[in-house]
């Protein structure tokens, strides 16, 4: 009987396949896994590791930053002759803009010494400004006519400007020349821009055209016989700065400057920052592995390192004073309630 009934069931079983889900560690969510738990020991040692890494880095950064010798000379106010009360009128006038400054070297500066100009309160990151350029035109000689996005500085009397746009138009045009003890100190202006920009962004066969020919002159003019890829000041200027206070590389001085040296600077104060009360500064600076003079990172690292040391100590003390046994079921809320009754 039993065999008979089984026989009658067999075909149906075969026909109706079982829908039992196939077992796999994945589908049953049983994949091998690591389940780390924050134990006090681990946390305290993590903080100690952070301390051990951050304090030395902080100290090193501070030392690096302190090692950098920097001469900053703000000149935009001093370079307006005292007989001009209206600074804007002065800068827009055709008067002689030459200005002489003296820089005192307080500490020995090893070459290369970077010469920067620093502008304050100049929003090179203004949305209107950063968009006002045409990269195609800069790269490709054949695209000289494409000036989209460059308004209102796209063409003069219908003739397109190369390089067009506000960025190029407003290019910085103060110039500096340095001398020490009546000897000229040469400023190397080669290689101040990114190689990648020279090679790929600015065409070697693209020449300035119709530039600064409009009624309003914004800044520097360009030599129309030199291709854009060699106009390094332009390339530097067109890498728009991220922040409203920024420096741009002007050149490199490749001799050491000794302590006590007096550097005479003859500068042409052409650039108009007076209309927006922006500051202009001339900066001579050496460099370290961390860049320029900036204590922030060192201080930040020291404080994070100090804080984590403090936390490590605090947790260690609390751990020894009032430890909790990990995984003690009596702490479970329902057990606590039951015990309380």
């Amino acid at each position: 009987m039993a065999t008979n009934s089984a026989g009658s069931n067999d075909p149906t079983v075969n026909r109706r396949q079982t829908k039992r889900p196939k077992y796999s560690k994945f589908t049953q969510q049983e994949l091998p896994a690591c389940k780390p738990i924050l134990t006090p020991q681990a946390v305290i040692s993590a903080f100690l590791i952070v301390t051990a890494i951050f304090i030395p880095i902080g100290v090193a950064s501070l030392i690096a930053s302190r090692d950098v010798v920097e001469i900053v000379d703000r000149y935009e106010a001093a370079c307006v002759p005292s007989n001009w009360t209206d600074k804007i009128a002065y800068i827009q006038s055709g008067a002689d803009k030459t200005c002489k400054r003296e820089l005192h070297v307080e500490k020995r500066m090893k070459s290369p010494i970077y010469v920067y100009y620093q502008l304050d309160n100049f929003y090179q990151n203004h949305r209107r400004y950063v968009k006002s350029r045409n990269d195609e035109q800069l790269r490709d000689a054949g695209k000289g006519n494409s000036t989209s996005g460059c308004d209102p500085e796209s063409n003069v009397d219908g003739v397109p400007i190369v390089p067009c746009g506000l960025i190029a138009w407003s290019m910085f045009n103060d110039t500096y020349s340095f001398s020490r003890n009546n000897n000229n100190v040469t400023v190397n202006k080669k290689g101040i821009s990114w190689k990648s920009d020279r090679d790929h962004k600015f065409g070697s066969d693209v020449f300035p055209k119709n530039f600064q020919n409009g009624t309003i002159k914004g800044g520097a003019s360009l030599n129309e016989t030199i291709p854009l890829s060699q106009q390094e000041d332009l390339i530097v200027w067109m890498r728009t700065a991220a922040l409203p206070t920024f420096r741009k590389l002007y050149g490199k001085i490749e001799v050491d400057l000794e302590k006590g040296d007096v550097i005479n600077v003859v500068l042409q104060n052409n650039y108009n920052t007076y209309s927006f009360s922006g500051k202009k500064k001339l900066v001579l600076s050496t460099t370290s592995w961390l860049g320029g003079k900036n204590d922030f990172l060192g201080i930040a690292y020291l404080s994070v390192g100090g804080l984590s040391f403090f936390l490590a100590m605090a947790f260690a003390i609390v751990y020894f004073v009032k430890p909790r046994q990990l995984g003690d079921p009596s702490y479970l809320s329902w057990n606590r309630n039951a015990a309380g009754q």
């Binding site: 589908t27 700065a241 922030f296 309380g340």
Partner: protein, 908 residues
């Protein structure tokens, strides 16, 4: 209608309604009577309400908050922009980085400047575009993906597979997975849900003698009665447990008086029903199976039982039945059949014997039967039967009383006349028939009683106990009568002897109200005493006080719901850990669910298997259908469908818990992830003269929520598990985390937002100060910000991941690597402004030091808070995780396996 030239009339008895199964025929000719909007199917289809999970509802309110925040950011930006424009009003013409003056057209005009008011509006609109990531649209998409993933795992879970019906878990609704982790009320149907809806004949009491099959020593022996007819063996399809004593008696013949009673009893069982026997061929041509088919499972059980004792129903036509009594085929004329109706609660059949005598066999519910039984006869037998019935129903058996009456010729003629008249009358036929039936069902002589076991499904008592431990209130809503419901309550451990029970069963409004108020007073007193001691524990949960149970029946419920007593009922029911509602109609079930839903914020789950549970399933926050015997309506209406009631426990405790924890975390994380990005954009805008320049490349902004950070959150949302299955099942109390909304609430939201603010400040301002007054260009610092924010949010996620599988590792570290690759690719496209920026920036030590500093400093507060919380204010989940870890370490070290959470079951 004409078929083969014959005219046939179609009446209401020919109508086949939806859900009917075609049986006993090979083909059917059908005519659609009506198929418009008012069909039964359409009317019942009250339009499944679209359900939205509670987490999502809460999330939406937080999203509104974020929208206000977004508007605030935009307002700040645009107002500042307007102020800036006003301050520089006179310089705008020649400002080198603004230059409003446009002379290229030959005359002086303003270039793209329309006054500060309009500019402010433009800035506002533009900032909406820039900051719109604040509203995490991608969150909705990732939530859907995560839910699909979770559903996949629920379907694939072999714990939720039902061997018996070969059915997997079905996830029919995709948007309420996480609600499974927050259930506070479970509304359950009884028949087919708690019980199997497979009736089994258990006991018989014949003529005052109790024959319980369960009491015999050979309890498990199932005797198969078979029959040789014309060289063929006929046997019933189902085997029944039999009482050996009774079997011996039936075999020994029916000559004596006791034998006669037994004969009548089984004849009644075999005859007094509407069962249709079906002979099925088996593979063995000599063996045929008899399958009894009928509308009531009780009747089936009784008929099978009769067959097992040798009274095999072989044939039924409208006029006669053939019963094989121990090899002897007997034919009875069925002269009249009074069908079961819910008023009389009994049915009867009048058999005409071959010797022209007539007998009436009645069977029905005890209450209705004892009213028609002739009390003057055999009082001791009636009493004995009554006590037997009592004892049967106290162990949860369904009882029926069988009676018989000899009809003499005149009585028969009288009845026959009335019956004929009633059954041919055109109006009020049903009422007339009922009257005829009541008239004849009188002076019945008791034969005995049967007890049928409505078998509990496997694991039901354990499941209910787990649910109760998890703080879930289980309400059973059943159409059964109170006694049955209570007995099932006891057998399923829903009710325990220690419980204070309130029974509300009354037939008029006033008494109903009085009862309810009394019960409420009692319950308050009951609550008040233990609560004093409990006060200092800070737990006001009623679990610790004497558990109370409320048992209420359908009629009282009608009065209460009509009578604005809802408030009191709810108050009372809330205090009770168990509520049993008996004799409730399908619509009342939904009414009760909506009562609870209206008055609490707690989540409700309804589970049922039949069409009568559909309204309840649709009403509850989560509807679970049991794919059982009673058709598929419940499954069709449900959000989740499974094979057995006991699967509710793994579904809620494991999947519900995980889903809730995962999704709760995911929502918070997504808020954080997008907000931190927007805030970085916002901080930068403050340094660009409020002009919405973004240092972070447009491409990177776009890829941020698509490639840089999307995959890990989805993977974690699908795969992360806070606790193992075993721990969750062993400790139902852990489920409380979902009920208390521990994974997602306002406090966590604001904490996360505070953390977001700090992290965004660190990410933004560290590079800002480090690069202040340097030659850095927009693209380089933008790349630094991009990389640091992406690594930061991924590390943040990594810090919160509980289970690191290789998939988690791959997705998180893969995302970081993908970000590096994408940023690099973006920076090697010469036409983009940031050309080569990453190579230039990454060549400096400053870049990497900034990155490291940002990551550590940004995560430090979160890490500290997390540790302090976990170590000094651990929640249950945290402790259980530690226990798990400890147990595993012990196992790995080869120590004896310690009993996990040995005191997790508090002494009761």
């Amino acid at each position: 209608m004409e078929v083969d030239g014959k005219r046939l009339s179609l009446g209401s008895s020919n109508i086949v309604l939806r859900g009917c199964e075609l049986k006993n025929t090979n083909c059917v000719v059908g005519v659609a009577v009506y198929c418009g909007r008012e069909t039964k199917a359409m009317l019942n289809n009250s339009g499944a309400p679209s359900k939205r999970s509670r987490l999502e509802t809460q999330m939406n309110s937080e999203i509104i908050m974020l929208s206000f925040f977004l508007v605030a950011l935009c307002m700040v930006t645009s107002v500042c922009a307007a102020v800036w424009l006003n301050q520089n009003k006179n310089d705008l013409n020649l400002l080198p980085y603004y230059r409003k003056l446009d002379v290229s057209k030959g005359k002086e005009e303003s270039y793209q400047y329309y006054g500060w008011g309009i500019e402010m509006l433009f800035t506002f609109l533009m900032s909406v575009i820039v900051y719109q990531v604040m509203i995490p649209i991608s969150l909705y998409i990732s939530m859907e993906l995560v839910r699909v993933g979770q559903a996949y795992f629920m379907i694939k879970d072999s714990r939720l597979y039902d061997e018996a019906t070969n059915s997997r878990f079905q996830c029919r609704a995709l948007n309420i997975n996480e609600d499974l982790g927050q259930i506070k009320y479970v509304f359950s149907d009884k028949t087919g849900t708690l019980t199997e809806n497979k009736m089994e004949f258990q006991c018989a009491s014949i003529w005052g003698v109790d024959y319980s099959s369960a009491k015999t020593s050979l309890e498990n022996e199932q005797v198969e009665y078979s029959l040789q007819v014309e060289g063929k063996v006929l046997k019933p399809k189902m085997k029944v447990k039999v009482n050996q004593e009774l079997l011996r008696l039936t075999k020994s013949g029916f000559a004596n008086k006791d034998g006669k009673r037994i004969y009548d009893f089984f004849l009644a069982l075999a005859a007094c029903n509407t069962i249709v026997p079906l002979v099925i061929d088996t593979s063995d041509p000599t063996v045929k199976l008899i399958d009894y088919q009928g509308e009531s499972p009780d009747e089936q059980a009784l008929t099978y039982a009769a067959a097992a004792y040798g009274f095999m129903l072989i044939e039924r036509t409208s006029g006669h039945i053939v019963i094989d009594i121990h090899g002897e085929r007997q034919r009875f004329n069925v002269l009249g059949l009074h069908e079961f109706d819910s008023d009389r609660k009994r049915m009867s059949v009048i058999l005409g014997y071959s010797d022209n005598s007539f007998k009436l066999f009645v069977k029905g519910a005890d209450t209705s039967m004892f009213s028609v039984i002739n009390k003057s006869l055999n009082t001791d037998i009636i009493q004995a039967t009554e006590t037997h019935i009592q004892s049967y129903s106290s162990v949860g058996l369904r009882t029926l009383v069988i009676g018989m009456r000899d009809l003499n010729a005149s009585e028969f003629d009288q009845w026959h006349f009335a019956f004929e008249a009633a059954s041919t009358s055109m109006i009020g036929r049903a009422a007339l028939l009922r009257k005829v039936a009541t008239n004849v069902e009188n002076n019945v002589c008791i034969l005995g009683a049967t007890a049928i076991e409505d078998k509990l499904q496997q694991g039901v008592p354990e499941s209910i106990e787990s649910l109760r431990k998890a703080g879930i209130k289980v309400w059973v809503l059943t159409g059964d009568k109170q006694e049955t419901a209570i007995s099932i309550g006891y057998s399923s451990r829903l009710l325990t002897s220690g419980m204070t029970q309130f029974r509300i069963k009354s037939n008029n409004r006033e008494s109903c109200r009085r009862r309810l108020q009394d019960a409420l007073l009692m319950s308050r007193k009951n609550m008040a005493a233990p609560e004093v001691g409990n006060y200092f524990e800070g737990s006001s949960d009623s679990v610790v006080s004497t558990p109370m149970a409320l048992i209420i029946d359908g009629t009282s419920l009608v009065y209460i719901l009509d009578n604005e007593l809802e408030e009191e009922l709810f108050e009372l029911a809330r205090r009770c850990s168990v509520v049993l509602c008996c004799r409730v109609a399908p619509l009342q079930k939904a009414g009760i669910v909506s009562l609870v839903k209206k008055r609490t914020a707690d989540m409700t789950l309804a589970i049922g298997d039949g069409a009568n549970d559909v309204s309840m399933i649709q009403m509850a926050d989560v509807g679970v259908g049991i794919s059982g015997q009673e058709g598929r309506q419940a499954v069709m209406a449900s959000d989740f469908a499974m094979g057995q009631f006991r699967f509710l426990v793994p579904l809620l405790f494991i999947h519900g818990h995980w889903n809730y924890q995962r999704l709760g975390y995911m929502v918070l994380y997504n808020f954080y992830r997008n907000a931190v990005f927007v805030l970085i954009l916002f901080w930068y805008v403050l340094f660009t003269a409020f002009t919405l320049t973004t240092a972070i490349n447009e491409w990177s902004s776009m890829l941020y929520s698509i490639i840089y950070t999307a995959v890990p959150t989805i993977v974690v949302g699908i795969l992360d598990k806070d606790l193992s299955k075993r721990t969750l099942l062993d400790n139902p109390q852990l489920y409380g985390a979902g009920q208390r909304q521990e994974a997602y609430n306002k406090k966590l939201f604001w904490l996360t937002m505070a953390d977001t603010l700090w992290q965004s400040i660190v990410v933004f301002f560290v590079p800002l100060f480090a690069y202040w007054g340097s030659t850095v260009d927009i693209a380089s610092i933008g790349d630094l910000w991009t990389l640091s924010v992406v690594i930061l949010v991924n590390l943040h996620l990594a810090m919160d991941v509980i289970r690191w599988t290789w998939i988690t590792h791959a997705s998180i570290w893969g995302s970081v690597i993908a970000t590096f690759i994408c940023v690099t690719i973006i920076d090697v496209i010469p036409s983009l402004r940031g050309y080569w920026a990453i190579f230039d920036a990454a060549g400096t030590a400053l870049f990497w030091l900034c990155l490291l500093g940002i990551l550590i400093a940004a995560l430090l507060p979160r890490f500290v808070v997390k540790f302090v919380y976990q170590y000094y204010f651990p929640d249950d989940i945290q402790i259980s995780r530690e226990v798990e870890k400890k147990a595993r370490n012990l196992r790995v070290n080869g120590d004896t396996h310690i009993e996990m959470l040995h005191i997790s079951n508090p002494q009761r």
